[in-house]
């Protein structure tokens, strides 16, 4: 047993992080918020870096890596708030021409929602009759398809899509903890950094605990690909991202409440991702059944 990142995995993660830091920094994020739309040049660069073809066999022109590597890469895109139907395009590599190289932007119907419908070149699933929503997340255009019944039956979600979404949530959980800590160390009130107050300190500690617990669950699910592990990863990563972003906002106080601050974008994206993959109810029910199966 060696449940730690290998050297290669570390290098992959660092490579993706550096690419994103260079090509999608705070200024690029602000630009994207003002006019969202996948940056086609960046998309091709991600394709060239192997993000989409990551799990495609080398014989098919792919990178030939596995789920663990994909999870590490999408943790980084989640962290960076990178916009676009990244997971759908990744899943389309090898099936939809151009998806692997980033030439084609591919989206997919997920339950009653489609992200990036207008901007995508290819849509997987039946998006007929889709109507646009005014998306809560400025970085994720949304369309609604199907009946207006939250409980309605939807196609069983692809577990790989669920897991990669959990990886993105993990990225958010980690990032918001860093943002909160950074703010808490520098913001002074009552003559000391607010991070010296136990109430703030303990909010931050709980954020880290949730993120690290989710990390173990997400990485393990990537290794085993076991459906129950994927469901567990999903539940813990959703919780770590949504509650983490909420707590990050609380730590930032008024300063996090402005449109310019990065915090709210994490919360909104975490809300969007939490709607993917069939909702938490199914995940909880399947994990209950797993106990008696």
């Amino acid at each position: 047993m060696r449940f730690q990142l290998t050297e290669d995995q570390r290098a992959l993660r660092d490579g993706v992080r550096q690419l994103l830091a260079r090509r999608f920094d705070a200024d690029a994020l602000r630009v994207a918020v003002a006019s969202p739309g996948p940056d086609r040049a960046l998309w091709r660069e991600l394709g060239a870096a192997g993000l989409f073809a990551l799990r495609l066999p080398e014989a098919e022109g792919g990178v030939g890596l596995g789920l663990p590597e994909a999870v590490l890469a999408f943790e980084e895109t989640g962290r960076a708030l990178l916009p676009g139907p990244l997971i759908a395009t990744h899943l389309a590599a090898g099936t939809v021409p151009g998806a692997d190289t980033g030439e084609a932007v591919v989206t997919a119907v997920d339950g009653s929602l489609v992200e990036w419908l207008t901007q995508a070149d290819v849509v997987r699933g039946d998006a007929s009759g889709a109507v646009p929503l005014r998306s809560v997340d400025p970085l994720t255009p949304l369309h609604r398809v199907g009946p207006d019944t939250p409980g309605a039956a939807v196609a069983a979600p692809d577990p790989v899509a669920v897991l990669l979404t959990a990886a993105e949530q993990l990225g958010t959980a980690t990032r918001v903890c860093e943002l909160a800590v950074g703010h808490a160390r520098t913001r002074e009130q009552f003559g000391q950094p607010i991070g010296a107050f136990q109430a703030v300190k303990h909010l931050c500690a709980d954020m880290l605990v949730r993120a690290e617990t989710a990390r173990a669950a997400v990485y393990a699910a990537a290794v085993t690909a076991d459906p129950a592990d994927v469901a567990a990863a999903r539940l813990l990563a959703d919780e770590a991202a949504v509650r983490g972003a909420r707590d990050c906002l609380q730590v930032h106080g008024g300063m996090g409440f402005t449109w310019e601050a990065e915090v709210h974008l994490h919360l909104k994206r975490a809300w969007v991702r939490a709607q993917r993959g069939g909702g938490v109810t199914e995940s909880e029910e399947s994990l209950a059944v797993d106990l008696v199966g």
Partner: protein, 384 residues
């Protein structure tokens, strides 16, 4: 313990309802949220209607031009106007609920005569210049400076989270007049005319996407010394004194509104099938318990104010802690009812959910409120 209203109170309620039924249909259409002058005009019109009907400054002392109503009457007023869908206080919030009461309590006769009547009539709008970028929870650390130059203070600095700054006539401003004094001791309260040279107002967009607030930048703005309320360097006390006006009614309208939203949520859940999920149903049931209790707690606090002449701000801290959490839970539950539609800003409750994120932060974070409860009610020691 009596939850029934006296004949006088019932009579007050009946006459108010009657008036609202007649008055509300005469209101013009609500203005667009982005049109500040139109919003000001609309709010002023409503205030003038209240004034003409004898409801303006209901809770203000009679000698300040108010009606001297009891806390219970004020509760009835807020309950009925909310239930009738009357306009909110809007642009007149600071004038009616903070600056006005401060001037009523601490102003000179001249100051009261100059500033109070226009507030009651809806003629003049006030905004609040308290918070600064570096003075949030720790308000008393504010750094906007003012120094004497003849018969004026010259003010430089910046304020943040100022509502209605674009259309306000006056700003109740806290400035530092003695930088060498302990931080609570060197603060002065000024009424700043918003048309004075040197004032720049910049809209502040929030995470909800709207510009409900503004930043106010002050570059050597001259404010007459005559506009100072209270003594120089006594502004902290002057400001705090208004809190003693709090008579348990601060959240009456909001609690009534939350109970209405909760009922709408339950009915929406029945329509879209989410009602069949017992987890959601029981969550709605628990929220019903929560807001029933918060309504009773409101009645308790108002009755206590009526009996004792005022609820200390600390009782308000207990209420605010519970209420702000409950309201966030309400809108999180709304998102559960909406499912995928909770991502649609055009759906009812979605923008409200975004706004609800501020409840545990604005007007004293939950962390600060817990300190207040622990130290001032429970008597726990301050940390070193």
């Amino acid at each position: 313990m009596d939850l029934s209203y006296t004949p006088e109170e019932e009579d007050f309620r009946a006459r108010l309802r009657e008036w609202l039924a007649k008055a509300l249909p005469t209101l013009p259409a609500r203005p667009s949220p982005d049109d500040w002058p139109a919003r000001r005009a609309y709010d002023a019109g409503w205030q003038r209607m209240l004034y003409d009907a004898g409801y303006a400054g209901l809770h203000w002392p009679v000698d300040a031009g108010g009606r001297g109503a009891t806390p219970t009457q004020h509760l009835i007023f807020l309950e009925e106007t909310e239930k009738a869908g009357a306009p909110y206080v809007g642009a007149n919030f600071v004038g009616l609920l903070h600056a006005g009461p401060t001037i009523a309590a601490e102003g000179t006769p001249q100051q009261r005569a100059r500033w109070l009547p226009p507030v009651l009539r809806g003629d003049e709008v006030w905004c609040q210049g308290f918070s600064e970028p570096d003075a949030g929870s720790d308000l008393a650390s504010l750094r906007t400076r003012a120094w004497r130059d003849g018969d004026a203070y010259v003010v430089s600095g910046s304020k943040i989270w100022t509502s209605h700054a674009e259309v306000a006539d006056w700003c109740e401003l806290l400035v530092r007049t003695d930088p060498s004094a302990p931080k609570h001791r060197g603060i002065t309260w000024l009424a700043m005319p918003m048309d004075a040279p040197g004032i720049t107002v910049r809209p502040l967009r929030t995470l909800a996407g709207s510009a409900e607030f503004a930043e106010v930048f002050l570059d050597e703005v001259r404010v007459p010394v005559a506009n100072r309320v209270g003594a120089e360097n006594d502004g902290w006390r002057v400001t705090m004194v208004t809190l003693s006006f709090e008579r348990g009614t601060a959240f009456v309208g909001e609690v009534v509104a939350c109970r209405r939203v909760l009922g709408e949520l339950a009915r929406q859940a029945r329509r879209n099938g989410r009602w069949d999920d017992p987890v959601l149903r029981r969550r709605l049931g628990r929220l019903n318990a929560e807001f029933r209790a918060l309504w009773r707690l409101t009645q308790w606090n108002v009755s206590e104010a009526e009996a004792g002449g005022g609820v200390p701000g600390v009782g308000g801290s207990v209420f605010k802690l519970r209420y702000s959490h409950a309201r966030q839970e309400l809108y999180d539950t709304a998102a559960e009812v909406l499912g995928a539609d909770s991502l649609d800003l055009d759906r009812t409750w979605v923008l409200d959910r975004l706004s609800s994120l501020s409840y545990t932060i604005a007007a004293g974070t939950s962390q600060i409120q817990r300190n207040i409860v622990a130290e001032r009610i429970l008597g726990l020691p301050k940390g070193r």
